[in-house]
């Protein structure tokens, strides 16, 4: 039933909002209502990329303008008005995707840099439009374009179109928000690297979100061209569009599907409704003040504030299991001595001249626990980063289960069943524990549906002893619990290979006992474990085999006792014996 509730609600709201069109209100009111819906569509379309994935764009004016000019060109060129609208959407989406295809390839181009870049792209597009035959300077008049009758009057028609695009946009935002790839976008928002390592195809998702966002803005722009009937570069590409869109989304809450629409209604009413004529200046001042106060007092917007209040309500405290136990039965018998699951041959990686890995070759057999040890800076974490696909190797090959994954994207490697934890836990800060873990279930090897993944996530949180905190945010956890969250997240994809980067460091002795038991449980459930560790007691206790790295080279490997007695290893750790 819940699945039908949302579409039914959309239908009801849509039909309800059609009444003004049928009632033939005075044109002033229809225009005003059109403007409200226009901003609802623009703000909501903006949030599909920027609110959900955190790539704040200042370039929404470019997509909006691309749509506006596409309709202006096509309609004055002789095409009927309505067919130009999907074409306007396509033009804007094509422009957006072309930009994204370049921009999203550049790592670290996020936050304010992405914002500025998109703003610059807007100005470049504006300059090109102004100086070419698209506009040429004087602007484009659409007064001669015939407007088909959909409502009682011309403004009624525009109102109906505005309503259609606003509903389409909000429905799209709703669908994305609840879909699997919506969860992926929220993961990207919080930590893009981790999302990719958990199997989220970040590049494709960002591109898709940008395409949808810009396409919908383009359609809204196409309608708006007919509303203003006179399209100029200065008005279309002014900084006002992106700034108002951001203002509305932030006021309403950019992370919620309904937030931007709420904010748009609020701000538009403030702008056009309450004020008129002489007091327009005061109205703008009020808009500015609202933005300041909202950022200062409600940085997550109205919906963010409401969601937070709801999730902060104390739930019934469930007893925390003293020692974590596996929640699922054994999947595969461990068969030490099986075929190699992971093969690294002559792997090399340098960072600006520092050779972190100088040709490391090693094999990890199916079902074994391999301890990876070595002094600080020996390349252990780099090796994990290369195998998981976070870094691209400069040379050599990496094979997982016989498949060459050298140079593949991290999310593809994750889908082959490779998972990892981070030395300093990196939870998704704005997702609950359950959602954190569910991301792995959705995008890893299993590719669960969202609901299945969230149900399974509960079981993994129980496995890690965090079941009673499933609906809290990671900020509520201490270090030890964060490490266990890392583990739960790595395991939720039921990986074939788990790489643990110093899970034990910083834990108290009793917590460490819990953690070592957990690692053994993981292996007993059929996974192969590679763990980096400095704590030798744990290494000796857990590892079937130990590999020693130093200055990016493999020193030796073998059974833990043999390796620890190896004089070369002793020398590298403790220095030369002089006695």
């Amino acid at each position: 039933m819940r699945r039908l509730a949302a579409p039914a609600a959309f239908l009801a709201v849509g039909l309800g909002l059609l009444v003004p069109a049928a009632a033939t209100l005075p044109a002033f009111y229809e225009s005003f209502l059109y403007l409200v819906l226009h901003w609802v569509a623009l703000a909501t379309s903006w949030s599909i990329l920027s609110g959900f994935s955190g790539y704040f764009s200042f370039g929404h004016g470019a997509f909006f303008g691309a749509g506006m000019y596409a309709t202006a060109m096509l309609a004055t060129g002789g095409l009927p008005f309505l067919p130009t609208l999907p074409l306007a959407g396509l033009a804007a989406a094509a422009f957006g995707v072309a930009m994204g295809a370049v921009v999203f390839r550049v790592p670290r181009l996020r936050g304010e840099l992405f914002a500025l870049l998109t703003l610059a792209v807007t100005f470049v597009l504006a300059t090109v439009v102004l100086n070419t035959r698209i506009d040429g300077g004087p602007g484009v008049y659409l007064s001669a374009v015939p407007l088909p009758r959909l409502g009682g009057s011309a403004t009624g028609t525009l109102y109906v179109l505005g309503l259609a695009v606003a509903l389409l946009t909000v429905a799209t935002a709703y669908a994305v928000y609840h879909a699997r790839w919506g969860a992926g976008l929220f993961a990207i928002h919080d930590d893009e690297d981790v999302a990719e390592v958990l199997g989220v195809p970040t590049y494709r998702y960002k591109l898709l979100a940008l395409g949808l966002s810009s396409g919908l803005a383009g359609v809204a722009g196409g309608i708006h061209a007919m509303f203003v009937t006179y399209v100029t570069v200065a008005e279309t590409f002014s900084i006002v569009v992106p700034l108002y869109v951001i203002l509305m989304s932030v006021v309403g809450g950019a992370r919620h599907w309904l937030g931007p629409a709420l904010g748009a209604v609020l701000v538009t009413v403030l702008m056009y409704g309450v004020t008129g004529g002489q007091t327009a200046v005061a109205g703008r001042a009020v808009v500015g003040l609202t933005l300041m106060l909202v950022i200062l007092f409600l940085p997550e917007g109205i919906t963010g504030f409401m969601v937070r209040r709801r999730s902060n309500r104390p739930g019934a405290p469930a007893p925390r299991p003293v020692s974590p136990r596996p929640a699922v039965a054994q999947r595969r018998p461990s068969d030490t001595g099986g075929p190699p699951l992971l093969v690294c041959s002559d792997v090399r990686k340098a960072f600006r001249g520092i050779q972190a890995l100088r040709g490391v070759s090693l094999e990890v057999r199916e079902g074994e626990i391999l301890g990876l040890v070595g002094p600080n800076g020996s390349g252990k974490s780099t090796l994990i980063n290369v195998v998981s696909g976070h870094h691209r190797a400069d040379g050599g090959r990496v094979l997982v289960g016989g498949m060459d994954v050298t140079g593949r994207d991290a999310h593809e490697i994750a889908r082959l069943g490779v998972a990892r934890t981070y030395q300093i836990p990196r939870p998704f800060a704005h997702l609950t524990l359950r959602e954190n873990v569910a991301v792995a279930g959705m995008f890893g090897r299993l590719g669960h549906r969202r609901r299945t993944a969230e149900r399974e996530a509960g079981r993994w949180l129980e496995f890690a002893g965090l079941a009673d905190r499933a609906d809290q945010l990671p900020a509520a956890l201490n270090l030890h619990q964060r490490k266990f969250l890392e583990l739960a997240r790595a395991l939720a994809s039921e990986p074939r290979l788990v790489m643990l980067d110093e899970v034990l460091s910083g834990l108290t002795p009793s917590e460490m006992t819990d953690a070592t038991r957990l690692v053994r449980d993981i292996r007993d459930r059929g996974a192969t474990v590679v763990f980096v560790e400095h704590i030798m007691r744990a290494v000796m206790e857990l590892a079937d085999r130990v590999v020693v790295l130093d200055v990016g080279e493999l020193v030796t490997s073998g059974a833990p006792q043999d390796v620890m007695r190896n004089p070369d290893v002793v020398r590298r750790y403790l220095g030369t014996a002089h006695a």
Partner: protein, 283 residues
Amino acid sequence: MPSFTLLAQSVLSGIFVGGLYGLLGLGLSLSWGLLRLINLAHFALAFLGAYLTYTLSTAFELDPFWCLALVPPAFFGIGVLSQLVFVRFRVTQFGSLLVTFGLTVMIESLIQWIWTADYRRLETVYGTASWRVGPLFVPVAELLALLTAAALAGLTWAWLRYTWVGKGLRACAEDPHIAAAFGVNHRRLALVLSGLSAAFAGVAGAFVALIYTLAPAQIYAWIGVVFAAVILGGLGNPLGPLVAGVVIGVSEALTMALTAPAWAPLVSFTLLILVLLLRPGRV
């Protein structure tokens, strides 16, 4: 192909407008690079300064250069106040962009309320005076703007590099916690820097009033190109905006001379896009 004189005059005017970009960008770069706050309201503040200069010069018949003694010190106070708000509410880097946009809209409304949306032109001897050097004209006001920009940038650079306060500020920008552990009072230094940055906006505003016709909507006209200069110049580097501003100004002027004036924005924004795409780590 335009004549040599025209090209030379273009380069010259490019250098001058670049000086103004540098002057406007200086405060912006300092607060972004060293305080991690993106102060969009810098432009609105500069225009508020310009309008104040306009009124003080016309209504009170003050020499515009006396305004430099009045407006920047007052703006210093505004800068200190705004920093207190930022600290009190723990505004993030991105949040600062939005808050200061709100402030920009409010200042714009204030300007429109007091001075109306009509164009205002400050008529002074400086505005029209120019020297003739060979075949070229050197406008006095713009030359003064360039010299002021160079002097302020140079002084700020030396201040950051050689004084204890400057070193403390740079340490805080690297890592506020470690700096605090070594006894640097980040809060007080940040107040000084924020005040200074606002005062620079006042200085820039005085020159905007001398050189340009004022209108409230003009606030937004400068944002794009000055941001380009600030990012190209490297955040927190006082000399950066001036150097990058001159580069942008000259390339814009040459574009205008060789093609049409309307193509000019393409240069600065293409440069900005290229820097962001090719060297995002530098920013």
